[in-house]
Symmetry: C2
Subunit: 524 residues, 2 copies
């Protein structure tokens, strides 16, 4: 498939007089072909109008059809094959093997949501029977969950497939029955075009209204602001920076009708090395830590940016191991020139702050388009005093904090902001300490990991990729895993309704194989 650079406004490919180019982050040079159309006000308006028009049809399709659409989209993305991998590599600098893995994750996610759609438990059916002889008479009440309406999805830079145009937000919104107006990330517009074309082929194959999906591109904040401001948009999915997420939250809150923004923003993902674990396997922990920090140039929301441990010989040995390992880390291409420059500024700020000591850096960059990892060391007292140390520096950067004792470590955890993850490294001898720390970790993070590393987020039913602010804008939700569908649903109750006007799943025995609550009792 040849890229055209045109927008997808429902079924229409549309050009613009204003265009931009993708860049190859390994050279910081523009990729000449094609130029990508920048969406203007009419494009946004038309995409939202088409999404609204498609809502009635799409939201009331048989669930089997909706599931088949998701599966067709997965098949079409798979069929993009090498062309997708090569373009994504060129636009993001991510290795091809990683991108192939990410495509597997993306299509697996779509297929998992197809299963969930068929299962129907997300409809949350509840039925309370009438009691006409009670005083006052008790009505017949039947509740199910319905989709919110059109959803705006913002593609993320760091997962050009799994958190972008057909990523988790799109998959869960479409699964919920919501049309999607996607705003492509300007760093990988060719990747977005390929994926959008796959989705549109699935729309056609399944005979859906074409407004179910649109793709808008652009390089300015105005596009995102206008999209979130559109009165037809009913929810927003976003993965990106704290500044970007907070800007969208403000726009959404200042609408005449405020809408929810599900923004996954910023985390430093504390990892606690408890004493017995540190003493018994400090060297292995040092190796694995450096591996987790430097993987994918550290460009993960779940990158371990903060290590907490208690001062002493075991920690000194760990730090020595880290210093040795980090020195062997190769410099890497980052996603964009802007991200790389921000990362280098963040490193300079840390070193300039006098609060930290550099433990070690990766091998020096052999050209201006590469970035080197860096790991720092500080004390708990310095960490608490210097807010800079608690901020995410997106990339392969991490700070080891030395605490005087477990109480100081506990106190520091109580002070930090919300996180996506928290990790405990421990042996059985650490369980008592771990039990003391666990309650504060539950308050701070959406996922708590034992003896592992936070990078790597399984797409499954029990996953929580979320957490208290500013990790996300809504700690009650997840943006990875099947529970993500709930972000785009709301309950509606029908009181004393004639069966002729109720959806089939709310009458009689209801559908097979799913759970319902009947008069307060769960049934299958």
């Amino acid at each position: 498939m040849t890229l055209t650079g045109k927008l997808f406004i429902a079924g229409e490919r549309r050009d613009s007089e204003n265009r931009f180019h993708a860049f190859d982050p390994s050279t910081d040079e523009a990729i000449p072909e094609p130029a990508f159309a920048i969406a203007g006000p009419r494009d946004i308006d038309d995409a939202c109008a088409a999404a609204e028009a498609a809502f009635a049809v799409y939201s009331s399709l048989p669930l089997e059809t909706r599931a088949q659409f998701l599966e067709a989209a997965a098949d079409e993305i798979d069929a993009l094959g090498e062309a997708l991998t090569k373009r994504a590599h060129c636009e993001t600098g991510l290795p091809e093997a990683r991108l192939n893995g990410e495509r597997g994750r993306t299509v697996g996610q779509l297929r998992l949501f197809a299963q969930i759609v068929r299962d129907g438990a997300w409809q949350g059916i509840r039925i309370d029977s009438a009691d006409p002889v009670r005083t006052p008479p008790k009505p017949d009440l039947r509740l199910h969950k319905i989709p919110l309406g059109p959803v705006a999805v913002f593609g993320a830079s760091n997962f050009p497939l799994a958190f972008s145009i057909a990523g988790g937000d799109t998959a869960s919104a479409l699964a919920a029955g919501c049309p999607v107006v996607a705003k492509g990330h300007p760093a990988h517009p060719g990747t977005s075009e390929l994926v959008a074309s796959a989705i549109m082929r699935a729309v056609e194959q399944t005979g859906l209204p074409q407004g179910v999906f649109s793709l808008l591109n652009g390089t300015s904040h105005e596009l995102g602001t206008a999209l979130v401001s559109d009165h037809r948009i009913q929810a927003v999915g976003f993965t990106g920076s704290r500044m970007g997420g907070e800007a969208l939250m403000k726009v959404a809150a200042s609408r005449k009708q405020p809408i929810p923004v599900y923004a996954e923003m910023s985390a430093i993902n504390p990892v606690i090395l408890l004493p017995a674990a540190l003493a018994s396997r400090g060297e292995k922990l040092a190796q694995d830590y450096v591996g987790s920090v430097t993987m994918g140039a550290g460009q993960f929301c779940t990158n371990p940016g903060l290590i907490l441990a208690i001062r002493g010989e075991a920690l000194d040995n760990f730090v020595a191991g880290v210093a040795a390992a980090i020195g062997q880390a190769s410099p890497q291409v980052m996603l964009t020139q802007g991200i790389r420059e921000q990362f280098d500024r963040g490193k300079a700020n840390l070193i300039g702050s006098d609060s930290v000591a550099l433990i070690g850096e990766g091998a020096p960059a052999t050209n201006g388009c590469l970035a080197s990892a860096a790991i720092y060391r500080t004390s708990a007292a310095e960490f608490v005093q210097n807010p800079l140390l608690g901020e995410e520096n997106f990339g392969a950067s991490s700070v080891i904090v030395e605490c005087d004792d477990i109480d100081q470590l506990h106190g520091l955890l109580a002070e930090i902001e919300g996180q996506l993850t928290a990790t405990l490294h421990m042996t059985e001898d650490d369980f008592v300490l771990a039990g003391k720390i666990l309650p504060v970790l539950e308050r701070k993070a959406g996922r708590i990991i034992a003896n592992g590393w936070p990078t790597g987020v399984e797409v499954s039913h029990a996953m929580v990729h979320g957490g208290p602010y500013p990790a996300t804008s809504d700690p009650k939700s997840t943006s990875v895993g099947t529970l993500a569908i709930e972000r785009f649903l709301r309950p509606v109750c029908y009181q004393d309704f004639p069966a002729e006007l109720l959806p089939e799943h709310l009458i009689g025995e209801g559908p097979n194989n799913t759970i319902r609550m009947i008069d307060g009792k769960w049934t299958m």
Copy 2:
């Protein structure tokens, strides 16, 4: 029990130099005894600190203990007997029979949440088994939902028991495991004191930390602002005016850590009289409509403030019936002087707008402390042009809108703001029309009623008392019924955790009799 007027700061009764009085709305005169303490910054700080300190203990109690606490609170409220009814009547002007019914609703609600707590399904348990031989290895993931933290609850004026200190927000927050800092409505502080004393007796009987509940009183907006701003508060429950709800939403959104506000605010609850129903039982509909509008002086969130029907003889007959019935409605005491004056201003604005004609008014007020009901008539074209007609005038006021045809009626529904309820009156001959209108009603309201009236909100499992903005600030939730517990919960996932550190309900076979999702399959 003698009222003291003192605050409840966890277990401590605390006075203040600044005090206010309750008023008897049937005379607009102050009730002399007692004067009620106004909470200051230290009281707010201490109440929130105590709630935060109580959280760890309260949230991890055995569910049976938490359920027993809710039941003890219900028993203690029941035991208040006549004293509660009499004080509430004096402070609100609501009839004693209504207040006794409302107490039944309040204690029934607490007991229903006790059952829900025991059931445990609200924990939303999901387990994904490990697969160590997969590449990469699949982790063991275990998810449950935990309480958010301390919750601020704002008592509503119009249900001094069921939506106030021990009302639905408090019951659902306590059921979720969240300590509550309540802000009493200044119109019924004596009622609030009695109920708070009952809750505190239940706290003591059950041996809970006293910070589980506090009651702050005051007459200024600053108290509410300070409470919602406190960094320990993690969610807010509010029932009241749109202006009040929106003010709290702004405060919550501008915190360093924004928090959810569940505000139930404003609705006019459209009722659609379809042609066959109107023709066949217009007279009965007129009687029932006037009964619903005037019940409780119209002071219900679900008051039917908007009737939609198609122009013609049947509608003219209905209007004539309404005019006859409304003339016989007695004037009533409203909840406060302020609410009555606002209601009278709203009526004057409507009449002054030239967009409406008065159909009829209730019997004239025989003294300045009574309010008379009023029902108006307008056209769909006028309604769409004049935003005033779409605003709630809290009290016994309603507007009948005459539409040219079903398309105009449908178009009007598509334009109105979000609602708590929408109602269809119909016979079988109306089902085709009803089917056309239903999708737009689902977009607009949380509960859709067939052949009934929206006043009367059953406390049960399938109830939705919620709806799109501005009916509520979060259409994904309900403030009545057992689903309300979900507002105060968030998911946490444990990855590869040793059984020794997991809560009991996440290991082994788990608890009996509740549902869990194991590897994507629902089990009991």
